[in-house]
Amino acid sequence: MTIAEAAKHLAARDFTATELAAAHNDAIAALNPRLNAYITTTPELALTQAKAADARIAAGTAQPLTGIPLAIKDLFCTAGVRTTAASKILAPFIPPYESHVTQNLLDAGVVYLGKANLDEFAMGSSNITSGYGPVENPWKRAGSDAKLVPGGSSGGSAAAVAARLAMGATGTDTGGSIRQPAAFTGIAGIKPTYGRCSRFGIIAFASSLDQAGPMARTVEDCAILLGAMAGFDARDSTSANRPVPDYRAAVTRGVKGLAIGIPAEYRMDGMSPEIAALWDKGISWLRDQGAEIIDISLPHTKYGLAVYYIVAPAEASSNLARYDGVRFGARVHGEDLIDMYERTRAAGFGAEVKRRIMIGTYVLSAGYYDAYYLRAQKIRALILRDFTDAFTRVDAILTPTAPSAAFGLGEKMDDPVTMYLNDVFTVPAPLAGVPAMSIPAGLNAEGLPLGLQIIGRHFDEETVFAVAGALEHAAGFTAKPALRAA
């Protein structure tokens, strides 16, 4: 059942929001001990919110999301509900305030099922860096029970939605953290334009890249969720003061007459033939529905990852300086103040977070700033220019979301760079600030989902939704994961 369908049933009184919440609470109790999709579950809060939603439905003041049960990535501060960023250093942290995005959702009447697992501080592509244990992907390779990763960093959100432990979820995307896990779990997810959703109350990783976005089982559900999450907020100085369009209407707009760019640089050496074939299918699906296909070039694509792995750690090293055991979070005692800082951070941060803080500290340090950070910012400008140039000729760009399907827990973990290569197709969009969406488009030979990515112009999520809607319609993706609630 989709969010759009559930809203109809709630309006028709086929079931109540309380029943819907209770069914999800039961599913979570049964399956979450295995999947570990939630760090914290909030079954009682869910029932309280559902009761309020039922009252609103009865009063005739319901909105499309009233009574819809969601997973909230544990990077969004939720007033009175523990928020960890999947880090031990925030284990005792209970925010006194609510993030702007989740407040918007609360105002729309949603139900919180719990706080979804993620890579620690959203740093990772497989959810294995969580301080609260990895998440198991509900999908299985045919004939195998091997545990696969759900992708990351929004791996808990993705697994919860795919396994029917939530109807939708909030995610955040810094280098692909919504789109790659969506692709790995056979769901849809959109990273909107930088500035579309307020960053207020979202625990910061890399502030010039971080954007919130929805994850759900259909394109329409993502459109409904983003319509509620987006909007101006004076408390985020990069929040865009523009009206939020009717995304839901855009989903069925069609692609007739749209120019769709196919970037040559994404057809990389060694790309799996299955992914190349799915990309070709996507191209013909759009052509068949009246789009014009145009070959384009995004010449600096191959440098995106290297730019990202300078810019993001640099910003992270600054943002994570606040975790020092003084004002909030865990503290480890030391002989003096500096010793307390060092012991607190050594105990509180996991290995990947420490690596990134140290890389960021190094590239910002005296003598290296120009060679690393400033150079990376200049190449970031060239990556933006690639997109700006392309968007003079095309309305949207179609690529695969990730270079592979979900991989096994324990694979690709030999060195950090191998893991980073997962993000090769997803990092350029946040570097340029443009919106990008992943939709489930097919299965590989092992029965695992694969995603296609649609990239759009700044603040033109509507065209992204239109292309995504057309692809979803043509793909007819109905496969379900092996592990799921009924």
Binding site: S208, G325, D339, I359, R380, P416
Partner: protein
């Protein structure tokens, strides 16, 4: 360019992360792998390119310099690991 053990120790100190001697060589290998990967950026000519710092090349908005909240000391202190009255408490800094 390759980091030696002394540089790794210096970075850890700057980052305020305590690192044991046994961890140094592992970190040295990992950090050098990452720096080796980003080395490819040196092949691009960036003469005359203006660096891009923000997500969408946007101008920063300013707000009026006025108090927008306050008098919420209990909320601010609620998560403190240690406190003394309305103050955060830390180990002694000055002897």
């Amino acid at each position: 360019m390759s980091l030696d053990a002394a540089t790794v120790r210096r970075i850890a100190k700057l980052a305020r992360i305590r690192v044991d001697d046994a961890e140094i060589s592992v970190l040295q290998t990992e950090l050098n792998a990452i720096l080796g990967y980003v080395e490819q950026l040196s092949e691009i000519d960036v003469t005359g390119i203006t660096p891009l710092s923000g997500g969408a090349d946007m101008a920063m908005r300013l707000r009026a310099d006025i108090v927008t909240d306050g008098d919420i000391a209990p909320q601010i202190l609620a998560n403190a690991p240690d406190r003394a009255g309305d103050f955060f408490s830390v180990p002694k800094v000055v002897e």
